[in-house]
Amino acid sequence: MKQEQGHSKAKKFGMVIDLDLCTGCGSCMVACMAENNVPFKEDETDKLKSITWMRIFKFSNGKTYPETDVCYLPRPCQHCEGHGGHSPCVSVCPATATDYDAHTGIVSQIYTRCFGCRYCMGSCPYKARYFNWFDPVWPDGMEQYLSPDVSPRMRGVVEKCSFCYHRYQIAKDKAHYEGQTEIEEDAYQTACAQACPVKAITFGDLNNHSHAVSKLKNQPNAFRLLERLGTNTKVYYVSGREWVRRAGDNYLKAEWPKKTS
């Protein structure tokens, strides 16, 4: 891949999502769909065929009132690095239609190369990959509202969250035009992070110490989903609630409270 000019250190874009702030309002989902030209159907009752790059899971602590507590967990693609870029999905794609970008840490999807075998979907434990079961059809006139920066996908291919990669490209172009070698933290933000009314989603370069995410991810209450599988994701979650942190992974009965070495 082409080297970025003037960047000596690889970036690792990622997110920190504060689950204690998230109200489950769905603004991030709506913003994501609008920003990325995500298609929808006239009848969306079968959610297992709905494309939601950003999906909010709702789960509870299983207790009854008054101790019941609910958590809303926004789940974009986790942009797994695995071991050395060996993401669950990238390694299995037979046609190299999905790629791990070592310069940004973003897992991309090449729609025009994907032939729709769906092996990547089977490999993803987060169910973050979606197949276009139908032709994308927008209501009359809505085509005018589509983003020109994002190519709509055709029937028969897989798609997923790209961390709004087109915004990164635009930010890079702008920085280059303005003679800067680095893009500012604010210059590249995902649509979901900007749309969140309670600022539960923070986005930035995990490797850049001046970016908020690099500090937030080191909080004692930060965790990642299914860390034990070795997916090495770049989406961190934060919660002060122990049962929420526990829900982030699977543990045998004897393993919780989490033993620290």
């Binding site: 297992l48 037979p94 729709g116 092996y119 990959r129 045998l252 009965k253």
Partner: protein, 412 residues
């Protein structure tokens, strides 16, 4: 009417009876073809697959028929490489069944992909790290080998054989068949294995994931081994069905018993390895990832420990126990029961390694997702069965598939 095409020394049913049977199988075939075109033109929304079930009935069917078609490579290996000469009396049928299985698998794959016109991308943009790439290459190559193995059989048709060129071509192809059998065994080792690897490398799916040797998870070796063990059972089961339909003895018992014995011992060793693998996975691999074995077999309305029992005990231990004993092999009822159980066992194994993998929730707050196929999926899965029946009917009628048939069924 077609007596000039029928091999010497054998008797076949009347052309009318044959055509009626052909029409019935053809009707089923057309139903499948209709569903196939629906999927191609309208897309995979014709199926009941969804984003939790990206792999479903078709991938199971693919894995199952490739395992069952393993009888071709393993019988060829035994006949040409290991020198088991008696197996020359069943190798033709094993090759034909293998040819049907592999051509069906390729057809199903062509229906299963979302962009069929881009199917060639798997070769052109090949990702060498993907098990599916290895499957595609080896499967295609092995299908070519099977075609080469099937051609001499076609050339043995009474009329074609009269043409000197075809007669000599057939003779020469037979004389080099050991080379193709060896090539087939080599290719089969890899594609059967890589089909196992397809599931085993999924480190994001603890139900499927296995450790292994170098780049190959244990499922790689288990799939190859099980195809070699169970494939011949399918060949023998289909042979028995053909004997029942034709009301003739087509293969001598000593041939059947030899292949059954080898299959039985392969199955016995495989099932020991499978039990060790399951034990290690349940007690070491899954717990190391935070999962108790019962996570995979509870809290849903379908998958329970019964499926493990069906696959390993009923579909593995029992048929192996029958086939490795002389008494079991010589008892026709027990032997045929063992064949059926073995076929069920390997099909359940492939089902589990595809559909249960998709069904099990991995995130603690996710839920089980169950699935049932649409009629289009069922029809396109039955399509290869109808196609197989038709090819067997035509081949049996016009080609000397069973060398022992004239001796076992002398024409007055």
């Amino acid at each position: 009417m077609d007596s000039a095409l029928i091999p010497n020394g054998v008797r076949r049913c009347s052309i009318n009876k044959f055509m009626i049977a052909l029409a019935i199988a053809g009707a089923v075939l057309l139903w499948g073809v209709y569903a196939m075109f629906l999927c191609w033109f309208k897309g995979l929304n014709q199926t009941n697959m969804n984003d939790y079930y990206g792999f479903a009935l078709w991938i199971w069917a693919d894995l199952a028929i490739i395992a069952l078609g393993g009888g071709a490579f393993f019988t060829g290996f035994l006949r040409y490489i290991m020198g088991k000469d008696e197996l020359k009396n069943i190798i033709n049928y094993a090759v034909l069944i293998g040819f049907i299985c592999y051509s069906s698998a390729l057809l199903i794959l062509a229906i299963d992909i979302g962009q069929p016109l881009r199917g060639w991308f798997i070769f052109w943009h090949a990702n060498v790290h993907s098990m599916l790439t290895e499957v595609a290459f080896c499967l295609t190559c092995y299908f070519m080998v099977l075609t080469i193995e099937y051609i001499p059989l076609i050339l043995e048709n009474k009329q074609i054989d009269k043409v000197p060129f075809f007669h000599h071509l057939s003779h020469n192809m037979h004389s080099v068949m050991a080379v193709f059998a060896a090539t087939g065994a080599f290719l089969s080792f890899f594609h059967q294995g890589s089909l196992g690897g397809v599931a085993g490398v999924l480190f994001g799916r603890p139900f499927a994931f296995r450790e292994g040797l170098f780049i190959w998870p244990w499922t790689f070796f288990l799939f190859t081994w099980s195809a070699a063990a169970y494939g011949p059972c399918f060949t023998l089961m289909v042979t028995k069905i053909t004997e029942m339909v034709t009301k003739k003895k087509l293969v001598k018992d000593n041939v059947v018993e030899l292949l059954a014995k080898i299959s039985g011992w392969m199955m016995a060793t495989y099932i020991i390895a499978k039990i060790i693998d399951t034990y290690y996975w349940a007690n070491v691999t899954a717990p190391s990832l935070g999962f108790n074995i019962m996570h995979f077999y509870s809290n849903n309305s379908f998958y329970g420990l019964w499926i493990l029992f069906l696959e390993i005990i009923l579909g593995g231990v029992v048929p192996a126990a029958i086939l490795i004993t002389e008494k079991g092999r010589k008892n026709s009822l027990a032997r045929n029961t063992a064949f059926v159980l073995a076929v069920i066992g390997v099909c359940v194994n492939r089902w589990v390694m595809v559909l249960q993998v998709m069904a099990v929730p991995v995130m603690s707050f996710d839920t089980w997702a169950l699935y049932y196929p649409s009629w289009q999926e069922v029809a396109t899965t039955i399509l290869p069965v109808a196609y197989g029946i038709i090819l067997i009917m035509i081949s049996y009628r016009y080609l000397p598939i069973f060398p022992q048939e004239p001796e076992l069924n002398p024409v007055d």
